[in-house]
Symmetry: C3
Subunit: 173 residues, 3 copies
Amino acid sequence: MLLALSSAFAFPSKKQYKPCKHLVLYFHDIIYNGKNAGNATSAIVAAPDGANLTILAGQFHFGNIAVFDDPITLDNNLHSKPVGRAQGLYIYDTKNTFTSWLGFTFVLNSTDHQGTINFSGADPIMVKSRDISIVGGTGDFFMHRGIATIMTDAFEGEVYFRLRVDIKFYECW
Amino acid sequence: MLLALSSAFAFPSKKQYKPCKHLVLYFHDIIYNGKNAGNATSAIVAAPDGANLTILAGQFHFGNIAVFDDPITLDNNLHSKPVGRAQGLYIYDTKNTFTSWLGFTFVLNSTDHQGTINFSGADPIMVKSRDISIVGGTGDFFMHRGIATIMTDAFEGEVYFRLRVDIKFYECW
Amino acid sequence: MLLALSSAFAFPSKKQYKPCKHLVLYFHDIIYNGKNAGNATSAIVAAPDGANLTILAGQFHFGNIAVFDDPITLDNNLHSKPVGRAQGLYIYDTKNTFTSWLGFTFVLNSTDHQGTINFSGADPIMVKSRDISIVGGTGDFFMHRGIATIMTDAFEGEVYFRLRVDIKFYECW
């Protein structure tokens, strides 16, 4: 199933281009479920008719919108010191599989990177590796554009997920 | 009325530029109204105070957010074989006319096209022809940018609409 | 506090680049609070569990989504003749400070400017000056890209705010 989806939806970037800048980062999302207010980094704020805001909706979560402020780390450890925050929204937008649409920003503030990176795109969650657009940046990433390759690095129940984001800039300034 | 709006809001693209790639596609939106769960491809998930999620809000739908996963076809026939899905959200954002704001992705998966195209922009629905930005792409559309000219090709009650999307890329890679 | 945040989150644009086009505009947001239907230009349409749609949510408004259609003016006077409309959405996305995520469009229609400008980015509201991306444009701003520097020019209670938007295009066509 995953394989079929992979071959169907993983559109490889053209290999002849080499990124002018390259970063790999992780971000961690803990969704509010009515009981984890202290730890939650995201919350369901919209749901389809009949659903509520503490349980992801039944039909592949179709119609849920979540708002998030997730820690970004250099490795896959939730407890590593964050280098920034991933902020924005994701939307579950399909009724017959898990697919989301993403609009968000990486706000990076570490000794290595100071600036923001803006992302937009469709995220076919069940596909191993999927590409979204980097539509702009500020600070160290002033006017940059590129492609981010997303992989689900962990998924625990319906509360926690961790994404690995392979950021490849093809336009640097 | 339409004419007045057209002259007011149709900002023609500069004619001296020729697209490096050109595509015309249609997508079809059937909004959930409480009775069409089987056919619906979109759903109202947010509404202003006092409105519900099965009827578009009263004042030009101001404040409604819809999430969609709409079939894309090569012609204007809803029943043609889809070449991909349009996924994302639209927002009705004006109180005194029909205007929406769009953030969505075309996920194309046919023998002709494999990749995604990311769109963002204001859509003054009552204007015959309106332009939004293509802010990025992946796969066959790796790093592309351009302009999409949208026309409402059909509008049936408050349940179905079909948009013709004239995709003109001015940056190809 | 503001100073600390400024030094932490104001990522200056690289100084060596000069904009190819430059505009300063203001927009004015009056949020619906249940009593100002006549004047309001925006409305809360999504809220976290337990909150309502006429009062911004308690925890730094975390989880609120507002849809807006705000007048744009050349100066800081709400009653100046508008030169266009700012349309889209903002999202309060942090639990421990005021931060929003913006997706919106300037639809300009004056003797000076005819066209649209599309914006996307994180807005750390408490920082004096913050940068977001201009991801595309149409009409006079055909295919433009750039950076917008946002400053909160006024903030009155939880009903009115005015943003000064310093639009710097670095890619003009």
